[in-house]
């Protein structure tokens, strides 16, 4: 059963008709026919009448236990009952006009998430990205070998004011300090393998397995920077450890005071 609530209001020589159709049963197709003495001026999209509208009215589906709201204009003078509504067949759920769901909205309008290349994130975040872009596959994988990207003791990852290097707890990133040390270890291993060669065949094999001479030079440069930072970190770590050792707060006394 579909109940009808319709009204017509004259504004500036035009009559605006509103129709509200409420269903308390299954989804049902209806035909809404203009009863006023004049043409229907339907709502338009891009200059064309919207789906369901024609020169004499509207045909569409009132959703199950739901509402269909319509509105149109006409030059005809208003009257008590501006429309006649004819109930037609019950519509299976799949044909329900209100069938668009959130996923369909997303597909139609486009994913609003920032593109992966637009997200300045540590490598761990990139790896953990659950939704890789098909159009941005060549993503930044070069950061581990770049000494400019490792956290320095003067500017550890968490110190920076932007979120560019802040470890993102939300996407399961690992500890940036551990990441950095792992990267250093990898580069040192490369250097050690190159250092250990004694014969030409050994050198050939080592260069092949470490990515060639250019990669070896890069690792050597990166390791030089790593060494400076490691020593600086070690120095700071020792000073912090000394400070910890020098403290002995009287916690039990403080506990009694509070």
């Amino acid at each position: 059963m579909v109940s009808v609530d319709a009204s017509a209001t004259a504004i500036d020589g035009v009559t605006l008709v509103t129709v509200s159709l409420d269903s308390d049963g299954p989804a049902r197709r209806v035909r809404v026919e203009q009863r006023l003495d004049g043409p229907v001026w339907p709502p338009r999209c891009e200059g064309e009448p919207e789906r369901g509208w024609d020169e004499s009215g509207y045909e569409g589906v009132v959703p199950a236990d739901g509402r269909l709201a319509l509105g149109y204009a006409t030059p005809a003078p208003p009257a008590q009952q501006p429309v006649a509504v004819e109930e037609r067949e019950v519509v299976p759920d799949a044909e329900d006009a209100a069938g668009e769901d959130a996923t369909a909205v997303l597909q139609r309008l486009g994913d609003p998430s920032p593109p992966r290349d637009g997200v300045p994130a540590p490598e761990a975040t990139v790896r953990a990205d659950p939704r890789p872009d098909c159009d941005t596959l060549p993503a930044a994988e070069e950061t581990p070998d770049d000494p400019g990207h490792v956290p320095s003791p003067e500017h550890p990852a968490g110190d920076e004011s932007t979120d560019q290097t802040v470890p993102d707890r939300r996407v399961g990133s690992t500890n940036p300090v551990t990441d950095w040390l792992d990267g250093v270890e990898e580069r040192v291993t490369t250097l050690e393998r190159l250092d250990a060669v004694e014969t030409v065949p050994e050198a050939t094999t080592a260069l092949q397995s470490t990515g060639g001479l250019a990669a070896g030079r890069r690792a050597a440069r990166a390791c030089a920077a790593d060494r400076r930072r490691l020593l600086s970190v070690a120095d700071r770590a020792r000073r912090l450890a000394d400070r910890i050792e020098a403290t002995d707060p009287p916690l039990s006394s403080l506990e009694r005071l509070t």
């Binding site: 139609r108 309008l109 994913d111 998430s113 637009g118 994130a121 939300r170 996407v171």
Partner: protein
Amino acid sequence: MILAVTGGKGGVGKSTVAYNLAANLDAVVVDGDLGMADLPADHGPDLHDVLAGRADPIEAVREGPPVSILPCGRSLAGARAGDPTALVSAIEAVERAYGDVVVDSPAGLRADVGLPLYVADACVLVTTPSESAVTDAVRVRELARELDAGLARVVLNRADDGANPDAVAATLGAPVTTVPDDAVVADAQAAGQPVCRASPGTPACQAFRSLADAVERVCRGHRP
């Protein structure tokens, strides 16, 4: 009741309108601007966490006063990590728990604008008197119509003496509430306060009250 505050163009005052509307409706405001959150936030779970399934929507609501708010994270990585469609169920969950919800939508016409309109019972369109803002508002109105979010009210924000509310109402096809271009609005927003709390009795406060009354009248009257 779920109400989407939208507008198309950036910088027209959607967040300010959403915040003050929520204050006057005693509703929860959800900061739906996933990429550029604008409403006050503190530490704790936010909408990014909710969309990524790491937090319950209700757990992420900071209850007022002055205004209950579900804030949004501010990192691009967070904006990327979540499922945008989960916004729908999150907003519905907040509505079930708290009653009325006002969603502050971002600029543009992508799904982060469409999804709040999809779940909303009605929308409020915010524009400034500038031609470009009104044009963008027309575009969003079309989207709102397609997604069955009735237009409850147009807000003509930062209206100075030269503004023409009648022309805006005619263009957008809905009654207009005018919010004056008054420093008290920006000052209140910067202080994290609704205008009617920071500067009660001002014309701007009156405007937001009248907006809330109008929206309530339209939406409650049309509820099933």
